[in-house]
Symmetry: C2
Subunit: 425 residues, 2 copies
């Protein structure tokens, strides 16, 4: 993360982002007014949204339960205008919390759930964060939605902007798989293929953000709002369990923001009286080919040593994760742990989840399932405590990862005798 | 459809399929007991499920509204046991009804909705019909879930069986696109690649159904139950509109069962007092490369002349649609129409829906959008009446169809000056 404060469009009006009242520095606590800022002017630390919630307890719960079947039921807890559900949105969220008895049985666990976020409109959790970023961007006066991305985020931004009726500009590596290019290009926004790796593209996006004052780069200049979208994963899990917290959660780590925000969501529900306070442990999952947070956890560090990613779990391949230190805080505070798994284990994880629960996850989901298995084997995760794992994307988008390990059981001529000869009857 | 009555497993117990009381012939009305039958023993006509509903009006509405957010909220109206929601299921349904104001504006329409069934667990409406077929198959004593398929159905069967903890056997053409093979194979069931076209595979499936008495072929020997799953599309649209019927619907036609069952769902809601009786028109959509029902409609026939399909809309490419005559009945009775569109129009339809509403449809959805446009142009569909179109699948599964028409706006070096030189800033 750079510390440049980008220019911002002058709105000339009061910003209405619901219960959000300021941005506050996660390091020094310094507060600034709501705006397109992401770094503290005092200490260069990252900013996050600060709230003054006006409702709590039973009244809030009733308000949420009467809301729409998407993330806007939690609008009173998000940096969005109160009427957000009435604006054109792709309305992510309210994805399934699947009771995973078959998988639990195979792993010797008592109660296991899969929060399956592949059910979102563009089939990843990115729809949540983009929806919140879009709401804030509109309120802050931006007219273009942009991002650097290698996949899921590109899809989510292009789709959300199309429905909102605003322009999108998405930057992707020119060597990206054809299927990811097509899936983003279909929405008809501006798609720029860049001859470089993700770091090159991210740097270019930062430069353009400084030049184009009407452009909201969702994960750059409106990042504090964007990141809050992941709180809704925590809210939904708690509500779907009947307004209580699970005892253990396993969350994949890319930038780390998702894990941190799920914890933040749980904490808010406790402080607002929506769930009873109860101990829970947060576990993190990485691929061994990009395991800077897992390494720091195991070595007892409170800082992250960047790595150069080399894993099939491309949606988790952030070598210098911005929220890494905060992930360590959450995991250590709650008594969880962080593990990493090989690409072979990732593939086995994808297959295991698909075979037992009929959920076909992208590689990030394979990382999470494989990490769950490893944490059970090491005794760090308790098989008898209620556990929720997060599947954040769809296997349809990472077919290449399994192309060499799955296929037809047999290929036959179209006759009954040919079928019977296979021995598969 | 053949008229062979396959063997069936002997259950030895009473079959509990909720409000379903018999199978009745759609031609002669002859009734037979609930079982794995699909053809009338008197006249060889197709069988369908007959019900005795025990609840209606306000009581039924309250029961539905208190139910789960999936098709099982309509269990009192389906051929499934009352406790179906408690059994392991992939729980399809409750997909979004999207208010399509942007698309309506482009087409000069007043009120347009898209029922977006790509939000189902395996991203097509097939999850609905398979879920009902699975419920009936289990109750009838079958132990294996099977199907011939070229895509969406294969995914749905493999996923549903995995979660139910039973074996699946899926037959696909060996020349199917690699991505469709992988997506089905991921779930770990038996996948048989057959050297032949869909007709060859369908015939083989019928032969195997006669041999394997424990196998339920969802679209063969338990087809009457399977087809009922599409009624839930009609129920959901009416409930999502606030318990009323739309004035016009546009539905894609493959076998035609979906269109017929949406109408059946509407009719049931009227007769049960859940919606007010009101006139509505049902329109059908086909690809010109497989337009036997559209042709029959235009020629004023009440029978279907089979065709050899040649279209990119493969999920609609059924040259001899079993429900074709019933589609004609519904469309003529309600005052609707049937149109067909070229592959070029299909692609334009996909792009139009994605660009305006952020919904990336498979080719079948492109057929529906393009047909809507054509029906408006010809004056057959009224732009001022409230209209619902059905998107039944996901663009991620038919990427090949758009590969030659969408792509990056520009490819650049990773520098600010290279970006500015594109003129896209």
């Amino acid at each position: 993360m750079t510390t440049v404060i980008p220019t911002s469009p002058s709105t000339g009006t009061t910003v209405d982002l619901g219960p959000a009242v300021a941005l506050s520095c996660r390091e020094c606590g310094n507060r600034v007014a709501l705006g397109p800022f992401y770094a503290c002017t005092e200490c260069f630390g990252p900013l996050e949204v600060a709230y003054e919630f006006t409702t709590s307890g039973e009244a809030l719960r009733e308000q949420i339960e009467a809301g729409p079947q998407n993330i806007w039921r939690y609008a009173p807890l998000l940096p969005v205008p109160a009427n957000i559900a009435d604006t054109p949105n792709i309305n992510p969220g309210s994805t399934k919390l699947v009771r995973a008895d078959n998988l639990a049985r195979e792993l010797g666990m008592k109660t296991l759930w899969v929060k399956d976020d592949s059910g979102n409109p563009t089939h990843s959790f990115k729809d949540r964060v983009v929806a919140v970023a879009l709401a804030a961007a509109r309120e802050l006066g931006f007219t273009v939605l942009a991002c650097p991305s290698t996949g899921n985020l590109a899809n989510a931004v292009a789709a959300a902007a199309a429905r909102a009726g605003i322009r999108s500009v998405v930057f992707v590596p020119s060597n990206l798989e054809q299927q990811k290019i097509l899936t983003t290009a279909a929405y008809g926004g501006t798609l720029i293929a860049v001859e470089g790796n993700y770091d090159d593209i991210n740097r270019l996006a930062g430069e353009i953000a400084g030049e184009q004052e009407d452009w909201a780069f969702v994960n750059v200049n409106v990042r504090p709002y964007y990141a809050e979208g992941s709180k809704t994963l925590g809210y939904e899990v708690a509500e779907q369990l009947g307004w209580r917290l699970p005892q253990q959660v396993v969350v994949p780590i890319a930038s780390g923001a998702q894990l941190v925000k799920i914890d933040k969501g749980f904490q808010e529900l406790v402080s607002l009286g929506l769930v009873d306070e109860a101990p829970y442990k947060v576990f993190g999952a990485q691929a061994t080919g990009c395991n800077p947070v897992s390494t720091a956890f195991k070595q007892g560090h409170d800082f992250i040593q960047p790595v150069r990613p080399d894993t099939i779990a491309k949606s988790l391949a952030i070598g210098n994760p911005a929220d890494g230190p905060y992930v360590l805080d959450v995991v250590n505070r709650t008594g969880g742990a962080i593990e990493d798994v090989t690409d072979e284990e990732v593939i086995e994880g994808i297959k295991l989840l698909a075979r037992t629960e009929g959920i076909f996850a992208e590689t990030a989901g394979g990382v999470t399932v494989a990490t769950l298995k490893k944490l059970l084997a090491s005794g760090q995760l308790d098989p008898n405590e209620e556990t929720v794992i997060f599947n954040t994307g769809d296997g349809l988008k990472t077919l290449d990862a399994i192309a060499h390990v799955v296929g037809p059981s047999a290929t036959i001529a179209p006759t009954l005798s040919a079928f019977e000869a296979t021995g598969l009857a």
